[in-house]
């Protein structure tokens, strides 16, 4: 059976045969499991009750944006599982199928959502494509027909929902249909959906809904929207940061703790999907530009946990958790009272400062512990007790200044298939190897040629540094570099350097692995292959003063030299000194800025569409392709290119010419 702990998968192989010959074969992975929503008892997987401990996510990650390699999907789902999360909502659009593959393999439930709630042909076609594509994934437990639609509570909304539900039913009768509604619970589309999705505790009254509709299962399809910035312990409107204590939220939202307390106390609520698992680009509320990414994530853009990660881990996972916040680097605040929080699922927690007990407190489910501690540098530690026995402990320490870099890969072996990659945590350490929680050193990366730096990030919601780069500042002690393997097996060596710090080095192993079948990219440089040449004429004293050819000049075809695409004009000068005009064309489907790359082995001047476009009096011998370039504006359609070439006392052999095909759709025409 497919379960969250042991997600067993099978493969169905469908083969079409005519006699004994195989005409087509398709492999469909699937899992065997049962699902059920109950109006009083919530969700059941394989007849076992499972509270949905979910997150909403956009597919967006540091360094790569929405172009997530499959390995990063796996990394992110794994990170959520480590938090105790068991459900993922694809908000608010269909996921890439590789995300669902990762959820199938790792054991993560999915609420799969279409982009558009509507009864239009386009919306229904999108919905059907989604359901037909995703219906074999055991991870998918819910079809969502939309999110926070203005029509959700109206009669029109109800009719749309009915049409959409009917279309889903044709393709899949095994999963319930839901709609994420920010209010109007019980109205309009509510009456149609199988399971009521509620967005935000305060946008309705779920207890009242349950009383009015005792047979309708209900869950929070979106909730909390708590704000926090990793490693920050005071709101900072100048820099666009929000404190990571679990206290900041919009008016419609909740802290992690108040939200989970509400859900935890209601067995009829099947679960909740926190907004959001990871930070994402855009929506930087409570701030605006120049703050550029959201603060809603339980993890930042890199997947580095914020403190609330440990709140959820304490109450969602089976791990024994003791986590202290804030960090303990508060130079200049000696003697000042600092608010210390502990997220723990132990029965009791005892706090110590430099070995002296500050007292033991009972933990109330599912709440954090909090007390003020007068700051003295050193070690702040906590011991968690269960049944009178030490169950777990944690500490934060006052560190020294940044001294060294350390590289910690998520995985140290990659497949050399041009795809596999791993995020690498870059930590700024003090002399004793402790992460400096306030460090912001700029770090440069260099890599051996069998790997590629896919991108970098640091989780700073206000950083305007480029993500496609080989350098990044640390943010509160950490940044991330994502390294991808190329095609050759061996060691990939990464080095991290920062002024005044000891280098960090790392060797990854790339294992030989075949590349997935692919269509090679089109080269953006298009060789020009069809040339014409004039008869030899009198050469000017200097190529710079050569005049463009007259309109009536006649040309003859040049026999092409393949495969070099070299225009050989030796037969046109016959070893004599003089000037020839060489004509060719670049045909573009659309206009745009581009370049002409060329090489020649005699003094050369160029005209593009009648305009002088370059002159190289010292063109070398022999001619080299792409030796020179000139920027130009390609017209839509045919562009005439003329080279004036001095035969260099009969030694010049010709020209190379390649057009930069900016949009990769140029075509070539023969001459009229």
């Amino acid at each position: 059976m497919w379960s969250l702990e042991a997600p067993v998968l099978y493969n169905l192989e469908s083969t079409i045969l005519a006699g004994s010959s195989v005409l087509d074969r398709v492999r469909t992975p699937f899992g065997i499991r049962t699902i059920r929503f109950d109006a009083n008892d919530g969700f059941f997987l394989n007849d076992e009750p499972v509270k949905l401990k979910g997150v909403c996510c956009h597919q967006d990650h540091a360094g790569v944006g929405v172009a997530l390699p499959d390995a990063l999907q796996e990394f992110r789902i794994g990170k959520l599982k480590a938090m105790g999360c068991n459900a993922y909502r694809c908000s608010h659009n269909p996921p890439t199928p590789e995300l669902l593959d990762a959820c199938d393999r790792l054991g993560m439930l999915v609420m799969d959502e279409t982009r558009m709630m509507a009864g239009s042909a386009e919306a229904l076609a999108q919905l059907e494509a989604l359901v037909a594509r995703d219906r074999n994934h055991p991870s998918v437990i819910l079809w969502s027909i939309g999110n926070e639609e203005p029509l959700q509570g109206t009669e029109v909304g109800a009719r749309m929902a009915a049409t959409m539900r009917k279309r889903i039913r044709k393709l899949d009768t095994t999963r319930p249909v839901t709609l994420a509604m920010n209010g109007a619970w019980g109205e309009g589309a509510s009456r149609i959906v199988d399971v009521q999705g509620c967005n935000y505790i305060h946008l309705g009254d779920v207890d009242e809904f349950h009383r009015r509709f005792p047979d309708k299962p209900v869950f929070y399809s979106e909730s909390a929207s708590t704000w926090s910035t990793r490693g920050i312990y005071a709101n900072d409107t100048d820099r666009g940061y929000v404190s990571a204590y679990d206290v900041n939220k919009p008016g419609y939202g909740d802290t992690a703790e108040s939200n989970w307390t509400h859900c935890h106390q209601r067995p009829f609520v099947a679960g909740t999907f926190i907004w959001t698992g990871f930070d994402y680009r855009g929506e930087p509320t409570p701030y605006a530009w120049p703050c550029i990414n959201s603060h809603f994530g339980i993890c930042d853009m890199c997947g580095f946990p914020k403190d609330n990660f440990y709140y959820y881990q304490a109450w969602w996972s089976r791990n024994t958790v003791v986590h202290i916040l804030p960090h303990w680097n508060w130079a200049g605040r000696e003697g000042r009272r600092i608010s210390v929080w502990v997220h723990s699922n132990c029965e009791e927690v005892e706090l110590f400062l430099n070995g002296h007990s500050l007292g033991r407190k009972r933990v109330c489910v599912p709440h954090h512990l909090e007390r003020k501690v007068s700051y003295r540098p050193g070690v702040l530690s906590a011991k968690g007790w269960r049944n009178g026995r030490l169950a777990a402990q944690a500490k934060v320490e006052t560190t020294g200044a940044p001294a060294a870099l350390r590289l910690i890969p998520d995985r140290d072996t990659l497949l050399a298939d041009h795809e596999d990659c791993t995020p690498i945590t870059v930590a700024v350490l003090d002399r004793r190897g402790r992460i400096v929680p306030t460090a912001d050193n700029e770090i440069a990366f260099s890599l051996t040629s069998n790997g590629v730096i896919l991108g970098v990030g640091n989780g700073d919601p206000s950083s305007h540094e480029p993500d496609k780069a080989s350098r990044r500042r640390a943010f509160n002690g950490l940044c991330q570099v994502i390294v991808q393997a190329r095609g050759s097996a061996g060691r990939i060596q990464l080095r991290a350097q920062s002024l005044g710090l000891a280098d960090g080095t790392l060797a990854l192993t790339a294992r030989a692995h075949p590349r997935r079948p692919y269509v090679p990219g089109i080269t953006p440089l298009m060789p020009l292959k069809i040339f014409e040449c004039s008869k030899l004429r009198k050469a000017p004293a200097d190529i710079a003063i050569a005049a463009p050819p007259g309109r009536k000049l006649s040309y003859s075809k040049v026999k092409p030299v393949v495969p070099e695409d070299f225009c050989d004009i030796r037969s046109f000068h016959g070893g004599q000194h003089g000037l020839v005009y060489i004509r060719t064309r670049f045909v573009a489907r659309r206009s745009g800025v581009g370049k002409l790359f060329y090489g020649a082995d005699g003094p050369v001047k160029i005209w593009i569409n009648g305009q002088a476009a370059g002159c190289q009096p010292n063109a070398s011998n022999p001619a080299k392709a792409d030796e020179y370039q000139t920027r130009t504006w390609w017209r839509s359609g045919s562009n005439e290119i003329i080279f004036g070439l001095i035969s260099n006392r009969g030694k010049a052999s010709g020209v190379f010419a390649r057009g930069e095909d900016v949009r990769q759709d140029a075509v070539f025409s023969t001459f009229p």
Partner: protein
């Protein structure tokens, strides 16, 4: 002759009996004939576990008219 894109749907039910669980797998497959002539075909469906060992199979002979698609249940 093709299995239509996204044309396979596998659903399973689980029943308890005699202290053991039994799963029944039902498969719907859309078979397309994009050629100009009718075709007599066989659809073979084989379920394999993660190690590649086949654990269930089914076969169905069918005739698909030229340019048509047939759903096999």
């Amino acid at each position: 002759m093709h299995v239509a894109p996204a044309g396979v749907f596998v659903a399973s039910t689980v029943a308890a009996g005699g202290g053991a669980l039994t799963a029944a797998v039902t498969v719907r497959t859309i078979v397309r004939n994009d050629s100009d002539s009718d075709a007599d075909l066989r659809l073979s469906s084989v379920v394999a576990d993660a190690s590649g060992k086949s654990v269930a199979r089914g076969e169905r002979d069918l005739r698909v008219a030229a340019g048509e698609a047939t759903e096999v249940r």
